[in-house]
């Protein structure tokens, strides 16, 4: 019964909270460098810095999920929010120093480092 109530509450939330309410009306992140595959990693706080006061539940979910590095797209899927909204929330956490981000690998056509990367990808794919 408890479970059912919890589920109802979740449903109600997803039905009635408009996505941009979560971002307090903002429709774009302050910085514009997050991509679908930017990797987000939670910064483990030093002792005494662990507070989550002032953070919204979605921010806390991101911090929990990204203890294991995850792409922006994965965070969006887990939160069940559109990518654009998720980027704003991640950007908040970047601003607070609570997560770090790693951009996708920039491809330089024909370069040696690129070949090294491609061979690593190929070898990795062969093993699946």
């Amino acid at each position: 019964m408890d479970d059912m109530e919890a589920e109802d509450a979740d449903d109600a939330e997803s039905l009635f909270v408009r996505p941009y309410t979560i971002t307090q009306g903002r429709t774009a992140p302050a910085r514009d460098d997050l991509t679908l595959i930017t990797i987000v990693t939670t910064v483990e706080p030093a002792p005494g810095r662990a507070g989550t006061r002032g953070l919204q539940p979605e921010h806390r979910s991101i911090l929990q999920q990204c203890l294991r590095p995850a792409a922006v797209a994965e965070v969006a899927a887990e939160l069940n929010l559109p990518v654009a909204v998720t980027k704003i929330l991640i950007d908040d956490l970047v601003g607070l120093g609570r997560v770090t981000t790693r951009p996708p690998i920039a491809m330089a056509v024909g370069s040696e480092s690129n070949m090294t990367l491609l061979r690593a990808v190929r070898d990795g794919l062969r093993r699946i």
């Binding site: 930017t38 990693t41 559109p82 970047v94 790693r102 491609l118 990808v121």
Partner: protein, 196 residues
């Protein structure tokens, strides 16, 4: 390759993050994109969505005011961890082609693409092939042979899709992991061979 990582605030530490690359899986509606992603991904495919603002085709011309509508586009994706430093994401492009073509974040920075085709309606893959050719994004073609049924041979498919001889083509049942793997490996080998 240059890795830039944002600095954590002093006194804090972050676990080492892997870097990511992505491969797009495109093709017409119902051609097996999510099937392929599911077959090779180490996780059950995830779904995410994005808002797209598109100029709507004018029914009522309000004169000088550009009419825009917002639509939601959903896509499925999976991941393959190569090692602790490298992750490959596979993005199945949304079925509504006229929307995802405008989704720059999805397209930009992709290593390359897999275009899936169904021999019963090859024309449904034309738009994806045209798109990748025009954007200079390397691609390979996978012909999904459901239940091992093949009603056209490779030469016929190449001709119908107007594919150059250099474009790799793999025929097989995309539900099988080994077929998906071969298709992805053929894409990366193609990238290596062409010096991309």
């Amino acid at each position: 390759m240059v890795f830039v990582e944002s600095d954590p605030v002093g006194g804090a530490r972050a676990v080492t993050s892997p870097a990511a690359v992505k491969i797009l899986v495109a093709g017409g509606f119902g051609v097996g994109k999510t099937t392929l992603v599911a077959a090779v991904s180490e996780v059950t495919p995830l779904r995410t969505e994005e808002y797209m603002t598109v100029a709507s085709v004018g029914v009522d011309d309000v004169g000088g005011i550009e009419d825009k509508t917002t639509t939601t586009v959903a896509m499925d994706f999976g991941r393959i961890t190569v090692n602790s430093q490298l992750v490959v994401y596979l993005f199945g492009t949304p079925g509504q082609e006229r929307f995802w073509f405008m989704w720059n974040d999805l397209v930009q920075g992709a290593l390359g693409a897999v275009v899936l085709a169904d021999t019963r309606r090859l024309e449904s893959s034309f738009a994806s092939i045209d798109f990748f050719e025009s954007r200079g994004i390397p691609f390979v073609v996978g012909v999904n042979c459901f239940h091992g049924r093949i009603d056209r041979d490779e030469r016929e498919v190449r001709e119908a899709l107007d594919l150059g001889p250099e474009v790799p083509l793999v025929m097989g049942d995309m539900r099988q992991k080994s077929v998906g793997r071969d298709l992805l490996v053929s894409l990366v080998e193609y990238l290596i061979a062409t010096g991309r």
